[in-house]
Structure formats: structure tokens, C-alpha cells
Symmetry: C2
Subunit: 528 residues, 2 copies
């Protein structure tokens, strides 16, 4: 038996003194154990990690922005140097294609996110300082004061990783120490990314324990960690069930928690768009559905269109595209079984199976590409049951009898990350009627394009109304806005200049930072 | 028997068709009923109100900023015209002094807040538009899409009123329809303010039902209203018990709720400050405690100082100042009884009574000015029990044996709205040790001044960590930041210019609005 891998606590890799169990990851392409063992940490260890985080926070909060930025850039550089090894282990653990998905696409996004965060730290724009010289009142966003727990999902082993992803970058950018939890499906990948972070902490002389890391814990121990007063916020991306349990725990202790939960990403293909370019749209949607075997939070899972011969052609085209593509290995056998359960659930609720709908019978975790279909009246009657996320290459087509049903469907849609409308000029009246109900229910509204492929841009929103996330006013992607999730708004009332944080002193500490001084945004000093 | 007053539903004053009870307010100065009756609305009525709000939201969300601003200014103007009548009824209902408190101080703040909100609406600064022209991604803050429920407290009948106060102004500024709930202690005051709002809605031709208003409801019906999908956010200022029940309901449905709960506003008077100017500080604190009979969310309720002869003089001075002042009428007899309960609780937990500690035996709701005292060791041992808010002229003094105990006390303080430090130059080392733990636990840190008297300034923060509020990243006072509580962050992905909100189109719709376009804040158009 191999020894379980060490965890990163208080700045050192140590053997977990009291693991409650071990995780033995399985290669989803073969169904066999990979051969490594990772500890499941218990409450004592997690308590100690949280305590460290709170101690580190004091030093880290007082660290100069340039050093935080240097850490983020250095971390990005280490990941870049080790990209081949990281992609290899990520491929073994997740079944995601090594190239271009892991070694280029997701890796570049991860590195770019960290570098964008570094730039935001240097600009200090996220602090949004406000000064009222008459009353000597000054306020800005500051770090929270203890650890931020970041829990990454199964489907983006790099770009959402607790030790390297978007939540990590945002939390550190605001100078919070991070407690990173691996997803149990890719502990080896996470270990390598945590090692990069640790090496960067050492190289840039940040306080020991700025980044701590563990592999897994029981649900109860995880909820206790969320309630721990030394955890000041939580970022979680994952399943709705786990997320809502965490939200409940966090809500009880008033701990800010940012969730990215399931989303079915409705797509509306309006009448004239289907007629004008139905096949091209079907091709686009098929390509979008096939990305990462459909295991993306923005994967299209519901497609509404009006019945017609063109709609039939659209469905034929989409079906044939999906059938042409070979089912790829999914993230795990459990994930494949979950997909099957969701597909069967929707069929039991009256959706007809057009293609697919079954597991593929071999050792790899694979599932037939699936299209279900129902009509609008049936959907409207059973809209809650029929919004079960099918996390894989699977979508539910809704056929409308008339154009009015598009808006009626949108009114019944739960909160989602994205909503897409394909339209042509002649669809204008329907577009108008549909836009309002859909707009209110999605974080990102897309026209004539696909929802997958989230740009890491300051102008994006990767968020949306509950239950897609926990709060409609935040985004998980897009710097510097995503940083505001991990901040406290704090005010200094008649505090003398030498006792103020640099960003609130009369003198602007950079030439670039905009501050709201006495009624206007300015780069000037406050005493001018 | 008089008929119960009508409520404001869907743009018309109507008799509540199904009241579950009535409220008969009492004059706290006499203990007698004022003579008016107000309906307690039931679930059917509240459901109807919420439905109206969601319908109105669509029209209101599309209303031009100038008209929203005009409404806010007009509302402010109507309140200004009727200030004398409003102050009179507010005085009868709350016992707060008519002048200067109601007719000048609080009235001016209320009017000023509405006008500041109008200016923010015109500037559109709160929308914070972000544009990425390369990817045609555009995002900004938008109204939530249904009603915002605003529940005002007992202690600021004007400036926090559901139909005229800070939450109201912020919610409307973001173009959300408001469902205003009166506090049952001042329904007549609220009725007049709701009338001003209604008149302003009519005068500026905003959609009917932009402001709806009811007086009271049972706790269960209130929680059901919070869970109603047509209520998209809640603003509540009041007691911790009621607030936490509402938070639980809102958390279950993922409804953003902004709470301002109890706060004991710790004050630390450091060794040399006591020595150098102890009596002057005692005078300041006494004056602050006496404001509004101590019924303010920022009233100092805990005073820590180091034992010494100067500390004794400080306490003597504070005691004599409080004794010199006559106890004023409190907001209600229930409130006075609540204060008594909290004082007795703290005494039962070992605090010694220096002065006061008893109800005054007459018809008016009055209470003796109260000082309790304990030592730091005792407080540190019983810190949870001894942080019970005493909502009145009452504070707990904590005497420290040494300077190290200041920071230890601060570490045990719950989340508060404010924290104050009085210090002299020689206190520098203690100030340094105390600042970090106190800073993390309060929204506004004050030096050498008093916490009462919140400036309505863009640079203030009236917020703080749980349980003072529900989230440390927001403020209830200070425009435009307070508006962000009632917004959703929404993104438009490859949407053509003519389908975008004006603020996200290439052309900047104002000359003033800063937008973040392709990496910089600019007032330019996006296509330049």
C-alpha cells in the first residue's frame, strides 16, 4: 500500500495526522485505479488550517499590492513551465483531451486569469476608494480578514481549480489567504497546481500559509469548516445539491458564499432564424453541446423552436451531427450515471427520446449523445420537473405550436447562467416579447451565437439569478468585478492620514487609480 | 369605531379587503391610544401587492433615468412642503422631539437623501457599464425585475421610512418598484410619506403601483411575502430576532436581503486619552448616548478603558452628565420594557449597576439613564452574554487592568456597525494592537469622535460584518454605493447596438458617465 500524499498546511507539506479516509482516484478512460492515495482530512486538521489562515491574513492584508501581483505572475509562470506534466495528469484523472483542451485552451485561460488578476492588483481599481474631505470620511473595499475557502468543480480541473482558478485569483487579488480544496476526481492535478502556488509563495516571500491545500473531507466536516469563524467567505462551483447544503451552512453564520450551481442554458431558435439558417445553427449548437462532452456549466440543455418543416430539418441536422460524433470519455463513471439518471428522469416526465438515452457498455465512462423532445404545452405543465440538468451531451427540445409560447416558456425558466436567442430580422416582434422574461432569468444573454466558451473579460458576467448562483449581483469570471465577492466595504471616520490605508490617504499612491473624491472620479490627490 | 385607513395597492388607495387584525397606535408620551386604526394585511392582499409590483417592474425598468430622477426630486419636494404636518404626527407617534430632531434634522436628511438619489440616477454612475468591443461583450448593473420590499425601523420614522428613506431611495434609483411596509409604531407618519410618494408618482406619470404601501402583517405572512417570487429583494432595519427570521426565509429562496440589525458600537478610550482629556471625552460620549434617547443603531453601548484615577474621573463625569439630563420619552412602552430586559440581563450576567437601571414610574415610556460596569476579565469570560444590545440611554463600561486587554476585548466583539477609538499620541502602541481586531469587526472605524450622526455621504459605510448586517460588502447609507444592493449584474453577448440598453451602446448616452471600455475608464464612445 502506498502512503497517502501530504497536504499543505501553514506553509509546509505535512502528512495529515488524522485522515478519516482516503481517496483513490480512478482513470475514467479505463475504469481502473490510478494508483495514488490521498487523505480525506478530518475536523481537527481543517480547524488547524482555518486557524492558520486567520493568522496569515493579518500579514497578508498588510502586504504591498506589487508583491501580491508578483506572486500571481510567478504562480502563472510556474504553471506555464509545468504545463505539460499538469496536462498529462489532468488527462489521466478527468479523461478530458490532453490537446488542445488541457495543455492549450484551459491552461492558457488559467494562466491568463492569474495574470489579469495581477494587473488588477497593480491598478488597485477594485478597491474603489471614496473620499469626502469635508467630513473626513473615507471608504473602500478591503480584504475580509480571514481565510477564503475555494472549492473547485470536477469539470475544469485547471481554470476553476481551488489552487489556481478564477475564485483563487480573485480571493488572493484582494489579499485574502486561500484554503484550496481539491475536487476528489483530480487530486493529482490539484496537487501540482498547489505546488506551483506554494513555490510562488516561497519565491515571492509571501507569508507562509498564504495558500493552504487539502484534498477532500466528509460533507459534515466541510460544512463545519464553512461555519468556522476563521473562514470569512466561500467560493464553490459544483452540483446544486452540495451547493445548497453549503449555502445553508454559510447563511447560518452570515458567511458570504458564492455559488455557481447547475444551469440548463436555454436556447431559443426563432421561426425565421430556423427557416433562414436552421442547419447552420444546428451545427453550431451541436458543436457547443459536444464541447467537453457537454460537461460545461454553459452547455445548451434546452432548445425551444416552433414546429415547422424547417424545425424538422433543424432537428434532423442536430441529431445527425450528434450521432456522427463519437461519445468521448466523461469525467467519471459517477458523472455518467448521474447523466443517465437525469435523462431517465426527463423521459419519465414525458420527454420523448429522439436519439441516445443510454450508457455505452464498456469500461470507459461514456454515454450516447442524447436528444429528448417534448411540446410546449407539456413543458409548461411540467416545467419544474423538466428543468433537471443533464450534465453531458444531452438536450431537451421543446416544440412550440405558436410564437407566443416562447415567452411563456421563458417565464417558467429558473435562474440560469446564460440564455441564447437565435433570430432573424423578421423575428423582431417575437424577439421583443421573449427578451424581457428571458433577460431577467439569465446572467448572460447571447444573440445568434453559442453559450459555451466564456471569455475572461472585464465585461463578462458569469453569474445569474438563484438557483444558478446565490446572488444576482456578482460574477465569478471577469476581473476586477469578480474580486468584489471576497471583500468587505470599510469606512474610516476622522482617521488621520498616517493611520489610513495608502489608497485612502490624501496622496494618490499610484498615477492610475481613480478615486471618488468630493463628488467626482479623479486621479488627483485629495488635498488639491 | 373608526374605519381602518386604506392601503396603497396598484396605484390606488383601497380598503384592505381581508385584514387579519388592526393596529391602534399609542402615544408613548401619554400611554393612550391616538385614535386611528390601521389594517393588518393578510396573505391574499400581500400576494396581490407583489403581483402588481412584478407587473409594474417591466414598465419601470424601461423608464428613462431623467423621469425617475424627477420622481425622486418631486417626492422630496412634497415631503418638504408637508414637513410640519409630517413632523407633528411623527412626534405624536414616536415621542421624538418635534424640533429640531423631526422637523429639521431628520426631515432634512430624508429630503437630502432623495435628492442625492436623484442626482445619482441622472449620473448613471451606479450602472458601472463595461464594454469589451473585441468580443462584443457588455455588462452593467440593472434593476432586479420585480418588487423590492422595504421594511423600516421604529427609530427613524422619516430617514429610514419604507416609503421615503434610504432603502426606498436606493431601490427606486435602480428603477425597482417598492413595496413599502410601515413600522406599526408610526403608521400615520408612514401614511403621509406614502401619500407624498403616491402624489409624486402621479405628478411625474410613473407607472401606477411604482410605490405600494401597507401598514402591517403577521410575522408568518411577512415571511411568505419575502419568499414570494415577485419580491426580488428585501431591505430591513430593525431587531436582530425579526431580522434573522427574515434572513432565513430569504436565504431559502435565494432572495437578496439587506439587514441592519443590532449594534453595540464599542468605544475604546485609551490610557493617555483618558488622562489628557477624559472629561471632554466623557461629555462627548454622554451627548452621543443621549441622542434620541439612545435609540440609534450607532449609539455607544460599550465603553472600554483602563482602570486609573483618571478613569474614575471619566466615569464620574459621564455619570453626572447622564444624571443631569432628564430621561426623555422613548419610542414605545414595549421598547422601554425591552431596554429594561436587556439591562437586567446584563446585570444578571455580572455587570454592576452604577446609575439608573429602572423604569420611570409614570404613563410616559421613560427609563433611567443607565451605566453598568464590569472588569475586562469578567467580560472576556462572558463576552457573548454581555453583548446584549441595550436600546436606550445605557452603556456597559469595561475596566481593563492593563493595555493588552483592549485588543483582547476587540477580538471578542461581534460584528458591529461602528467602532470608536479615542487616543493620544502616547497611545500609539496600544492603538496599533487594537486597530486590527477592531477594524475587522466594524463597518466604520472612528477616531476621537462619536459614532452617532451618520453623514449621508458617498464615502460613508453604514454596514459591517454579520450580525450587524447580513453581508460585509454593502452599505445602507451612501449613494450611489447603497444602490448596488438592489441590482443584478447582467451581460449582453454579441447583442447588436439597437437591442442594447442605452448605457451599453457604442454611443455614451451622457457626457458624464464613466464606462470601462477595452481596459480603461472613459467618457468616450465605444467606437472611437
Amino acid at each position: 500500500m502506498r502512503e497517502a500524499h501530504p497536504i499543505l498546511v501553514g506553509g509546509a507539506w505535512i502528512e495529515d495526522p488524522h485522515p478519516t479516509d482516503t481517496v483513490k482516484p480512478i482513470n475514467p478512460s479505463t475504469g481502473h485505479e490510478i494508483g495514488d492515495e490521498y487523505p480525506v482530512s478530518g475536523s481537527e486538521t481543517l480547524h488547524r488550517i482555518a486557524q492558520h489562515a486567520a493568522q496569515v491574513a493579518e500579514v497578508l492584508n498588510a502586504t504591498a499590492p506589487d508583491r501580491i501581483a508578483l506572486f500571481l505572475d510567478t504562480h502563472a509562470g510556474f504553471i506555464d513551465e509545468r504545463r505539460s506534466d499538469i496536462a498529462s495528469i489532468a488527462h489521466t484523472e478527468t479523461g478530458l483531451p490532453r490537446s488542445p483542451r488541457l495543455v492549450e485552451t484551459e491552461m492558457n485561460r488559467t494562466i491568463d486569469q492569474l495574470r489579469q488578476a495581477a494587473a488588477c492588483v497593480r491598478s488597485r481599481d477594485w478597491m474603489r476608494p471614496r473620499v469626502d474631505t469635508q467630513n473626513n470620511l473615507r471608504s473602500m473595499f478591503e480584504p475580509l480578514g480571514a481565510g477564503v475557502l475555494v472549492i473547485g468543480p470536477n469539470n475544469f480541473p485547471l481554470a476553476y481549480n481551488g489552487a489556481a482558478g478564477g475564485d483563487f485569483a480573485a480571493a488572493i487579488a484582494a489579499r485574502n489567504p486561500v484554503i484550496a480544496k481539491s475536487h476528489p476526481l483530480h487530486p493529482g492535478t490539484s496537487r501540482m497546481l498547489a505546488q506551483c502556488a506554494h513555490d510562488a509563495v516561497v519565491a515571492t516571500d509571501l507569508p507562509k500559509g498564504t495558500v493552504q491545500f487539502f484534498y477532500h473531507c466528509s460533507p459534515d466536516d466541510g460544512l463545519a469548516l464553512i461555519r468556522n469563524p476563521n473562514v470569512s467567505a466561500v467560493g464553490f462551483t459544483g452540483s446544486r445539491g452540495a451547493g445548497l447544503a453549503m449555502k445553508k451552512a454559510a447563511d447560518e453564520t452570515g458567511t458570504p458564499i458564492y455559488l455557481e450551481l447547475s444551469s440548463i442554458n436555454p436556447v431559443f431558435v426563432l421561426e425565421h432564424a430556423v427557416r433562414d439558417r436552421g442547419e447552420a445553427i444546428a451545427d453550431q449548437i451541436a458543436e457547443s453541446m459536444l464541447q467537453a462532452s457537454g460537461q460545461q456549466c454553459t452547455s445548451p440543455g434546452l432548445i425551444a423552436l416552433r414546429s415547422s418543416e424547417y424545425a424538422d430539418q433543424f432537428i434532423d441536422q442536430l441529431s445527425s451531427r450528434l450521432k456522427q460524433a463519437s461519445p468521448q470519455v466523461m469525467l467519471s463513471h459517477d458523472g455518467r450515471d448521474g447523466l443517465d439518471k437525469a435523462v431517465q428522469h426527463n423521459m419519465n416526465c414525458g420527454a420523448e427520446c429522439l436519439i441516445g438515452g443510454r450508457k455505452i457498455d464498456d469500461d470507459a465512462a461514456r454515454y450516447e449523445h442524447t436528444l429528448l423532445c417534448t411540446n410546449a404545452s407539456h413543458f409548461l405543465e411540467h416545467h419544474q420537473e423538466l428543468q433537471e440538468e443533464m450534465f453531458g451531451v444531452a438536450a431537451l427540445i421543446i416544440l412550440c405550436d405558436d410564437n407566443d409560447q416562447f415567452a411563456l416558456i421563458a417565464e417558467k425558466i429558473n435562474g440560469n447562467l446564460t440564455g441564447t436567442i437565435h433570430h432573424s430580422d423578421c423575428d423582431a416582434p417575437v424577439l421583443k416579447a421573449l427578451t424581457r422574461p428571458l433577460r431577467l432569468r439569465v446572467g448572460r444573454l447571447i444573440h445568434n451565437a453559442v453559450p459555451t466558451g466564456v471569455h475572461v473579460s472585464p465585461a463578462t458576467v458569469h453569474g445569474g439569478p438563484f438557483p444558478a448562483t446565490g446572488h444576482p449581483g456578482f460574477t465569478a469570471v471577469g476581473l476586477p468585478t469578480s474580486i468584489h465577492r471576497f471583500c468587505a466595504l470599510r469606512c474610516y471616520d476622522r482617521v488621520s492620514d498616517d493611520q489610513l490605508p495608502p489608497e485612502l490617504r490624501d496622496r494618490n499612491p499610484t498615477d492610475e487609480m481613480l478615486r471618488y473624491i468630493d463628488g467626482k472620479w479623479t486621479r488627483d490627490d485629495a488635498d488639491e
